[in-house]
Amino acid sequence: MTAARSARKGTLVAVISTLVVATLLAISIGSSPSWPLVQKAFFDGTYFSTSLPDVIGAFAINIQLFVLAEILILPIGLLIALARSITSPALAPLRIFATIYTDFFRGVPSILLIYVLGFGVPALRLPGVPSEPFFWALVTLVLIYSAYVSEVYRAGIESIHPSQERAARALGLTRFQALRFVVLPQALRRVVPPLLNDFIGLQKDTALVSILGVVEAFKQAQILKSANFNFTPLMVTAVIFLVITIPMTRLVDRLAAKDRAAQQGGTR
């Protein structure tokens, strides 16, 4: 009874304080002498509704990019993570390659890689190598985010207590079988939240490929902006990205909270 009442009281206080802060912010921004100009340049209702269909249409390209990239990244990232956890000396080159790979692609700014790969490789005019910007945009995003995701996988694999692998080996499972049936299934469950986090980053980064001339949402907004000398289409793009990323962020938070609860509840 009292707990429910105090919870309701808490919500009420939160709502009121949020409203007060929001109102104060609105008043102080709105009272700025240049606000009308800014509002016209960035938040124009007419431009908003006229540019919305075009930007949404172009956003289909972003969706294609990140969906395709995510499908490719999931297995590639896993392979790299597995290559990094190889202990056999005969396969050391593989491990070293995987280490260099992740160090490199996590260390270089994304926009630079998109530039170099997107303009550089097609310029080589290698026979049989596609030159479409979309293709190279996809390749670059996959290369970069596979490096990030492999680290997520690796952390997940390392979080599984060694006694699990030992138990599997004692049953006569080979190292690979122990990994495949005992370690990985547990590790994959744990990596879902951080993995989705990386995917949120990836989805935002699809806007970077606009520099290759791919007409995705951000590029489309820039085109409209230049045509009308008004920045509102860019705000439209921001809203569309938020519509995708905010629910995903909330989902990550909830999954992570559930994981924590399960861990505190005594699951090993």
């Binding site: 207590h161 138990a167 599997a168 080996r169 004692a170 049953l171 006569g172 499972l173 049936f181 299934p185």
Partner: protein, 260 residues
């Protein structure tokens, strides 16, 4: 016992000869000679640190040995690393802290090795797993996840899991020491039933009464050596070596209900 006498004739299933093991400079096992005949139950007793766990781990090829030989059904197994997985399938081992796989149900825990390591079909592996769970009194818990099982139930699932590859020998390391007394009784009862059904077992234990009851032979270890071995009768009633006597005296004075 007549049962034990009949066993003497059979060729040993598992045989350790002159096995030594060092951790750094410490000699943890010193020229161990130990053989198990088929259907024989041998209990290892000895103070903490005497080398019981190490002996079991070496026998299961989980630890390399520094000298001596290990043979399983007449085949030397200690040397060829490549076949270690095959050998481990023929030996079942359960440790006190041997966790079950938390992402699998009791049934799946038991069925995994038959399916994956032995290559049984899923249906055949499941059938075997169900039979084993039933044998250990866990038929009702087949679909439970380890987290929802009591410690004693978990330990029995671990025993079923170790039995699922139909090992020639079952190695058990103090599997009751983390359990409260009520659960201990359940697990020991399951082991007694296994012994009766003819399983070959090598058991490290601090439960003297249980050892006296279930074992065909007791080995007393101290400082990595087998000081004395013989029937429970002989070891507990008329130990010959003064070190064995001293150990048993200490155990009894602690109040462990050793022998009635």
């Amino acid at each position: 016992m007549a049962r034990a006498a009949a066993k003497r004739v059979a060729a040993p299933v598992l045989e350790l000869r002159g096995v030594s093991k060092r951790y750094g400079r410490a000699l943890v096992l010193n020229k161990i000679d130990l053989s198990l005949a088929e259907h024989e139950v041998v209990c290892l007793i000895g103070a903490s640190g005497s080398g019981k766990s190490t002996l079991l781990r070496c026998a299961d090829l989980l630890e390399p040995i520094d000298a001596g030989s290990i043979t399983l059904s007449g085949r030397a197994v200690h040397a060829d690393d490549r076949d270690a997985d095959t050998t481990r399938r023929q030996l079942g081992i359960v440790f006190q802290g041997f966790s079950l796989f938390p992402h699998l149900t009791a049934l799946e825990n038991v069925a995994l090795a038959p399916r994956v390591a032995l290559g049984l079909t899923a249906a055949a592996a499941e059938k075997r797993a169900r039979a084993l769970l039933k044998q250990l009194g866990l038929a009702a818990k087949a679909n439970a996840y380890p987290d929802s099982l009591s410690g004693g139930q978990q330990q029995r699932v671990a025993i079923a899991r170790a039995l699922a590859t139909e090992p020639k020998v079952l190695l058990l390391d103090e599997i009751t020491s983390a359990l409260d007394p009520v659960l201990v009784a359940d697990v020991l009862e399951a082991l007694r039933a296994l012994a009766k059904s003819g399983a070959t077992m090598l058991i490290a234990t601090h439960e003297m009464a249980f050892a006296a009851d279930v074992a065909d032979r007791i080995c007393y270890l101290e400082g990595g050596e087998i000081i004395e071995q013989g029937s429970p009768e002989k070891i507990f009633k008329t130990p010959r070596d003064p070190r064995t006597r001293a150990f048993l005296k200490r155990v009894r004075s602690v109040g462990a209900s050793a022998l009635r």
